[in-house]
């Protein structure tokens, strides 16, 4: 349960987090660049190894290894590299390879659309119902505060489908298809939004299922299948990490009125109560793109993500001092919690008091 903070405490809370942020800004340097470059290097070697094994091998063992390596490369590229670089976390290096504005990632979502809806909408209006379209992505009911409709009954199956096709979900999210269905967005507008997505998607499909298989000649089916599985591995992984960061029980939703003119401290509070962390080892954190530290990521989306693990205990200590909850748990526990939310909210809510208010 969270203590309600009077305005002066909210400000003090905000100042403490500002100070943490400043501390990292002051130390930012070689270490962060070395980290991201070593991840890039690992990713490139894994990618090369994966492709080599898939393209020249003929046996099941090299197939499994190659697919695994390629899947790993895609995970690193999307999560620790793509997501973080596109947040502008490394813009200060002035290295064009780490430039947030020009980066494009190896997945179906068009980079500039993602930068708009994710960096701006989601990170500014985090968990404000009606403003943050990431709350259930417009078709899932992840909290009892969202109105129920009969279509939600099948959402447990929809979610499984989404997990396997996650990159397409992220890409299509920019279309606001639900708004067109509800009559709030014209078809012409939908088409404008669909074009970059379709173009990027087509290029990705061409690359994974025509270009690389084509290079492999007789091995084409093997390569196509390997790419398909590698994409799938990445999809399921990204899905799991992101759902655990946003939709376990205890994550709070907000209404627009309560966030109007909110001071910086309150904005920080909303980020904390609107996210959840996953505990794990260093490798786990890197593979999740440090989104296992969703709370720290939401507080400081533009600080180098490799700093989140060292910030986390300090953020948590501050929260404790101010009587604020800090949602964290093992991967399995958070996944179970998310599953329960999805299942429970598939049915209309029983009359129960809203949690966490």
């Amino acid at each position: 349960m969270n203590r309600t903070l009077p305005p002066h405490e909210i400000d003090a809370f905000g100042r403490e987090l500002d100070a943490l942020r400043q501390e990292v800004l002051d130390q930012r340097g070689q270490r962060d660049v070395d980290h991201i470059r070593s991840v890039v290097r690992t990713m490139r070697y894994a990618e090369a190894a994966g492709r080599l094994l898939l393209h020249v091998g003929i046996d099941p063992a090299t197939f499994a290894l190659g697919t695994g390596a390629l899947g790993l490369a895609k995970i690193l590229e999307n999560m620790e590299i793509g997501h973080n670089v596109m947040h502008g976390q490394y813009d200060w290096t002035h290295d064009p390879e780490l430039d947030g504005e020009s980066y494009d990632w190896d997945m179906a979502c068009a980079a500039h659309q993602w930068r708009e809806y994710h960096n701006f909408e989601h990170h500014t209006f985090t968990n404000i119902l009606g403003r943050d379209r990431d709350v259930g992505y417009g078709f899932l009911r992840v909290t009892s505060e969202q109105p129920w409709n009969p279509a939600h009954i099948i959402q447990p199956f929809v979610v499984v489908g989404l997990a396997f096709l996650f990159q397409w979900g992220i890409g299509a999210h920019a279309l606001r298809l639900d708004e067109t269905i509800a009559g709030r967005q014209s078809v012409a507008e939908l088409w404008t939004r669909a074009r970059p997505f379709l173009a990027k998607g087509a290029r990705q499909l061409f690359k994974d299922y025509v270009f690389f298989p084509g290079l492999a000649l007789v091995n084409a089916p093997r390569v196509a299948l390997g790419n398909f599985i590698a994409n799938g591995i990445r999809n399921v992984w990204a899905f799991a990490v992101i759902f655990c960061g946003h939709f376990p029980e205890g994550v709070r939703m907000y209404h627009e009125q309560e966030t109007r003119d909110e001071p910086r401290g309150a904005w920080y509070l909303r980020q904390i109560h609107g996210s959840a962390n996953i505990e794990g080892g260093r490798l786990f954190h890197v593979l999740s793109g440090h989104l296992s530290h969703q709370i720290e990521h939401h507080l400081f989306p533009d600080l180098p993500a490799c700093r989140y693990p060292e910030l986390a205990p300090r953020v948590r200590a501050i929260c404790e001092r101010y009587g604020q909850s800090y949602n964290t748990g093992r991967f399995r526990a958070q996944l179970t919690s998310v599953a329960r939310q999805i299942l429970e909210n598939a049915l209309p809510s029983r009359a129960r008091p809203a949690r966490m208010h």
Partner: protein
């Protein structure tokens, strides 16, 4: 006409078409990044994405000046007196400075003579960390501090401190072209041990009777100013003068050219001036792309100010989170109002929605 000759342009066109198609395809399939990675990994100097140069050697010139001899992969050529942007990575951050090229165009290598400036991030880094075998990134040589096409009959090359670097390039070029008739080379240095290229100057003046080398040492004679300059170069009025040095020295000698200012060509190579308007009001913002200049009112962030002035800019959160309002600051000082951080590096990226001007600025807008 032979078949070969008729086919040549056709072949060239096909080749360039194939190259362009490959480039577009690799970009579309996101293979370009991977390609650049492997070039960096295996043969960094071969990069085509940017011009890189291998450091061949580092030579001590004086106690605080070193010459870096560079071998760029390709070199577009330069005129003596021009400078080149150099980019190095200091603490993970790429920093860019412009240095005059001290080698003449006929030299197979490119030489940069760099003084270690107290507190200067790039010059100190170069002095301590840049060794033979490393590489640096270069921009395109540029600058109009160059001799006219036909050499003026009477010439004065006037320098103070490390301002000698473009002038030595001019001198070396004239020596190479055997065009050193009636040239005065006047160099002001703090003391004897600060004189740049001393032995080379001695050698050149003994080889070329038309060259007069004058050294002015601050610790041995009165400060170099207009009067002193007339004493040292009595026929100043008849000479085309090329002047480069620290601001103080350039200002001190400037009055000597009263009445024939047209004969004076100068190059300022000092760093950007420090913060001017502390209140943020009245700073002038030059928009590099649209060539507009706006004067700030001091009442808001750069985003507000520019919008008030009628600029239509992209933005998202307006609170420093989403990075939509990012813009490259070419020069000047801004303060981040959230963090109080000061940015005074050229080419820093700033977020307009949380920045205020602390001096005149040039933005890439």
């Amino acid at each position: 006409m032979s078949t070969l000759a008729t086919n040549a342009p056709h072949v060239a066109r096909t080749a360039s078409f194939a190259l362009r198609t490959t480039q577009r395809l690799s970009r579309a399939l996101l293979l370009d990044r991977s390609f650049r990675f492997w070039v960096d990994e295996l043969a960094p100097v071969a990069s085509r994405a940017e011009l890189r140069a291998r450091v061949l050697s580092v030579v001590d010139v004086t106690h605080d000046v070193k010459t870096f001899v560079l071998a760029p992969r390709v070199w577009p050529g330069h005129l003596p007196g021009q400078w080149v942007p150099v980019e190095v990575e200091v603490g993970g951050i790429r920093l860019r400075r412009c240095y005059s090229i001290s080698s003449p165009p006929n030299d197979p290598h490119v030489e940069l003579t760099v003084k270690r400036i107290p507190g200067g991030r790039v010059s100190n880094w170069m002095h301590t960390h840049l060794h033979a075998g490393d590489f640096v990134r270069l921009g395109a040589p540029s600058g109009d501090f160059v001799l006219p096409e036909t050499k003026p009959t009477k010439l004065l090359l006037l320098s103070g401190g490390s301002g000698a670097t473009p002038l030595i390039a001019i001198l070396r070029d004239l020596a190479h072209r055997r065009a050193l008739e009636d040239v005065t080379y006047l160099h002001a240095a703090r003391s004897r041990r600060d004189v740049l290229f001393a032995s080379e100057l001695a050698r050149l003046s003994s080889l070329h009777p038309g060259l007069r080398v004058v050294l002015h040492l601050d610790d041995a004679s009165p400060r170099l100013d207009a009067t002193q300059l007339w004493v040292l170069v009595p026929d100043l009025a008849h000479r085309e003068t090329f002047l480069c040095g620290p601001t103080g020295m350039m200002d001190a000698v400037a009055p000597a050219f009263l009445g024939f200012e047209g004969r004076l060509h100068h190059e300022r190579f000092v760093a950007a001036k420090p913060a001017a308007a502390a209140s943020g009001a009245g700073a002038r913002i030059h928009l590099g792309r649209s060539k507009r200049t706006i004067t700030t009112t001091g009442r808001g962030t750069l985003l507000d100010e520019l919008e008030q002035a009628g600029e239509r800019l992209e933005y998202g959160c307006r609170m420093g989170i989403c990075n939509t309002c990012r813009c490259a600051k070419r020069s000047g000082v801004v303060e981040n109002v959230l963090t109080g951080a000061i940015s005074n590096e050229p080419d820093d990226d700033i977020r307009l929605c949380v920045s205020v001007a602390r001096s005149d600025l040039t933005l890439a807008l």
